[in-house]
């Protein structure tokens, strides 16, 4: 074994190095590419009102100063199932798994985001 290492050419060593670099890069890419969990952020009139994980099903009644709506999270998708806005574009948009649903009359933005929610990202410590 020792002997075979001694007999390597420069090309062998370059190849060896490239292979290692590739495998490390692979690990990093895989970590970045696989989502750490997606979240539904519901913003009302410009400020974040709710954050829910996309992978647990729930129905959220939301009251805004401009109108009420019902937001449903199911099977890692989200939709507005009911809204009392006039044209109901938000309802007709149906289920989404990424991107956003925007209801202008109710000033509400439903945003699917990847990664940790805001609250967990920046904590120095947790009490409890």
């Amino acid at each position: 074994m020792k002997k075979s290492i001694k007999n390597t050419t420069i090309a062998d060593r370059v190849l060896f190095f490239v292979l290692i670099a590739c495998s490390i890069a692979g690990m990093v890419i895989v970590q970045e590419a696989i989502p750490q969990g997606a979240y539904v952020n519901i913003e009302i009139d410009g400020s974040l009102a709710y954050t829910f994980p996309l992978d647990s099903d729930r129905i959220v009644p939301v009251s805004t100063p401009d109108g009420d709506m019902i937001i449903e999270i199911k099977d890692e998708k989200v939709r507005v199932s009911e809204s009392d806005c006039p044209k109901k574009f938000c309802v007709s948009q149906g289920w989404i798994a990424k991107g956003a649903i925007i209801c202008l009359p109710n000033k509400t933005v439903i945003l699917v985001e990847q990664g940790m929610p805001y609250s967990e990202k920046k904590l120095d410590a947790i009490s409890g």
Partner: protein
Amino acid sequence: MDTYVSITVVSESEQVSQDAIEQAFAAIETFGNRINFYSDKSELAMINRSAGTAGVSVSTETLDIIDKALFVADASNGAFDPTIGPLIQLWNFHEPVKPHPDDIKNRLPLVNYRHVSIDKDGDVVMLKEKNMLLDLGGIAKGYAADIAVDVLKKNGISSGLVVIAGDIRTFGSKPGGKPWNIGIRNPRQKNRADEIIAKMQLTDKAISTSGDYERFFIQDGVRYHHLLNPGTGFPAMTIRSVSIIADKGVFADAFSTAVFVLGPEKGMDLVNKMNMEAVIIDNNGTIYTTEALKDKLYFEKID
């Protein structure tokens, strides 16, 4: 101490930081050994062994934590009681077995903080009745955080964060003058995503949380947990978790237990009377906060 301890400091010198942190850990260790309920060699064990027979001369530190424990017991009218030891011994949360009600009934008279006498001049502590047991589990972690902060300050550190399990003490601010970001654990966490129920920023404050999710078993749909009501010997049932924000860790820790036992309404009265801040999550998941906290809390709204 048999628990998770983390110390973070802000300093320009790595050497100063390292030395200060080592000193702080050593101080916590010394203190932990003095008040360990489960060790025969602790000062606490000596006090307990001498119950009903003799006073025991202890370190100033041990005397001080007992003094503060009695203060909180008095302020909460016994909702927090450091003589809860005989009841704690009956409950074992590793196996889902409730103690026999007769055993609890027999031991209840032993739980009475008024039967602890302390002599501050001679540093002597005495339990007046035989078989009484002091247990400082509901106050020791917060006190240890205070000890650590004192040691860090004496060693030239002006800001940092000491975390002992769920008991946190912040002092000074983060680099750039920013406050520390602290989360409160969701008492009914369902997945990794809803670990936190609320988040806030703290500077020069301590926060402690008492929750029914730390040590418990569930039997016939009832959650039996470690936060016992000293008056009944059974777990206090009206609250899921209490977080108290106070100037000192020792008071945040002990009052979080007291408020848990008192329930949301009486608990909040006590918090206001003591000029502290609190987040209380009751048995239905309803969240109560003190007035001053209302615009400082960032909530994760969870069902």
